[in-house]
Amino acid sequence: MQQLPELEVIGSALQDNVRRLFKGSLAIRQIDTGSDNATEQELAALTNAYYDIERFGIHFVPSPRHADMLLVTGPVTRNMAEALKRAYDATPHPKLVVAVGDDAIDGGIYKGSYAVLDGVSQVIPVDYQIAGDPPSPLVIMQSLLAILDGAKKAPKQKGQS
């Protein structure tokens, strides 16, 4: 219960940013490009009763077409590279790409393996990164806050680059 105030503080700041940048609604499509599922567990924890990220206006969606933000996990296996590229293309602007976890940033413990492409940025332009192996839900939320703070300019232009 120690963290609760912190969570609330981060959350309400996050909510403000979501309001400002995404009109109060941030839709996230999570893409697993060959992850070991550790990061997925942490992301899934975001929606549980404790973190309840939904109350801040953030929700997960079933299709990249509906998404504002792609959360990519995993080191991008060769088989998933094309899928990731297509998911990126399928997401309408404005969109943000966030690589979650060390694997996604540069391959992590899989770095250099012949089976992976060492990080999301090798395939699609990554806007932000969230480090950790895996990052805890609170870390993810903090990072999201930082990301949205950083993306003060209209994300649309960023996406259009």
Binding site: R19, F22, K23, G24, S25, A27, N48, A49, D52, E54, R55, G57, H59, F60, V61, P62, S63, R65, H66, D68, D89, A90, T91, P92, H93, P94
Partner: protein, 307 residues
């Protein structure tokens, strides 16, 4: 006054519908011991989607491009025909069959749009949606028909005027038909136990899997239309079968009473829906016809008792 009423009548469904979705989601979150998103979250979602770009499949045709407008337009038309707060605003559009088939027109284009992009999900979603809506139509028509016979008109806008609320003879057929209509409501609006509106698994989706290809404004319209649909069916459920509080004249006070009673009754429906969705499991697809058969039998008995 009449113009004002008409404006309320037309705007009511599209404006209130997202709130209803917010209410259900919020209640469900509460039941899951979460706080959940705010009641206004659906409005924010829609607003954001309107300001997003769109990606449309290169395989899709004009059907895909126009289906959202038709789906939305249909719910606006039907919404304006409902007995929302008064039984005095009648149009020739409010005919029972016209309403049912106009809604079916929306489903028709939505299902076509689902198939249009050639995605495997969209196609199977269309197939399931059409299966359910095909076999639910008989129950839909006949449950409202029960009330139509009681009130002597098939015009749903003025139907409640013909019902005398106090008479007990009508109670049993009305309750039976209402029970049947509730099943129809769940089926037509893709709620539990027919469909899971929150699912992210394509294989279990019915309605949502048709929407997977939509983005931006068109997605907003489709989701809005789905919310409208839910509200339309809820209003039908409460104001046809239990028209308590509905205004039979255009006096300010009775209109206000009508609006507030409708809001209250619809809220009850939404609360029940939320509880239902939190407590029961989705049915296996091929068990659904049994449920619809139950609705159908209830209707037949109800009509039989009316006359």
């Amino acid at each position: 006054m009449s113009y004002l009423l008409w404006i309320i009548q037309i705007m009511f469904v599209p404006l209130v519908a997202p709130l209803g979705v917010g209410l259900i989601n919020s209640l469900k979150a509460r039941i899951q011991k979460r706080r959940g998103a705010s009641l206004l979250q659906p409005y924010r979602n829609l607003w954001k989607l309107f300001y997003k770009d769109e990606v449309i499949s290169r395989d899709a045709s004009f059907i895909f491009r126009f289906a959202p407008f038709i789906a939305m337009g249909v719910t606006i038309i039907v919404g304006a025909c409902l007995p929302i707060f008064t039984s005095t605003l009648s149009t020739p559009m409010s005919d029972l069959l016209a309403v049912v088939y106009t809604l079916a027109l929306g489903t028709f284009f939505m299902a076509l749009a689902g198939m249009d992009s050639g995605s495997a999900f969209g196609g199977s979603g269309s197939s399931r949606e059409m299966t359910i809506s095909a076999i639910v139509e008989a129950s839909f028509i006949s449950s409202i028909l029960t009330v139509a016979f009681l009130s002597g008109t098939t015009n749903i806008a003025v139907m409640s005027a013909g019902l005398s609320p106090g008479s007990g003879n009508f109670l049993i057929p009305i309750v039976l038909a209402f029970a049947a209509f509730c099943i129809v409501l769940l089926a037509e609006t893709s709620r539990y136990p027919f469909d899971n509106p929150d699912t992210h698994l394509e294989l279990t989706m019915i309605h949502e899997s048709m929407l997977l290809e939509f983005s931006g404004k068109r997605l907003a319209l489709m989701e809005w239309a789905a919310a409208n649909r839910l509200l339309i069916f809820s209003i039908l459920a409460v104001n046809l079968f239990f028209p308590i509080g509905i205004a039979h004249d255009q006096a300010v006070l009775s209109v206000l009473l009508g609006i507030s009673s409708t809001l209250l009754k619809v809220a009850i429906v939404y609360i029940v829906l939320a509880v239902l969705e939190s407590t029961i499991a989705k049915y296996r697809f091929f068990r659904l016809p049994d449920l619809l058969l139950v609705a159908f039998v209830l209707n037949v008995v109800a009509i039989g008792l009316v006359l």
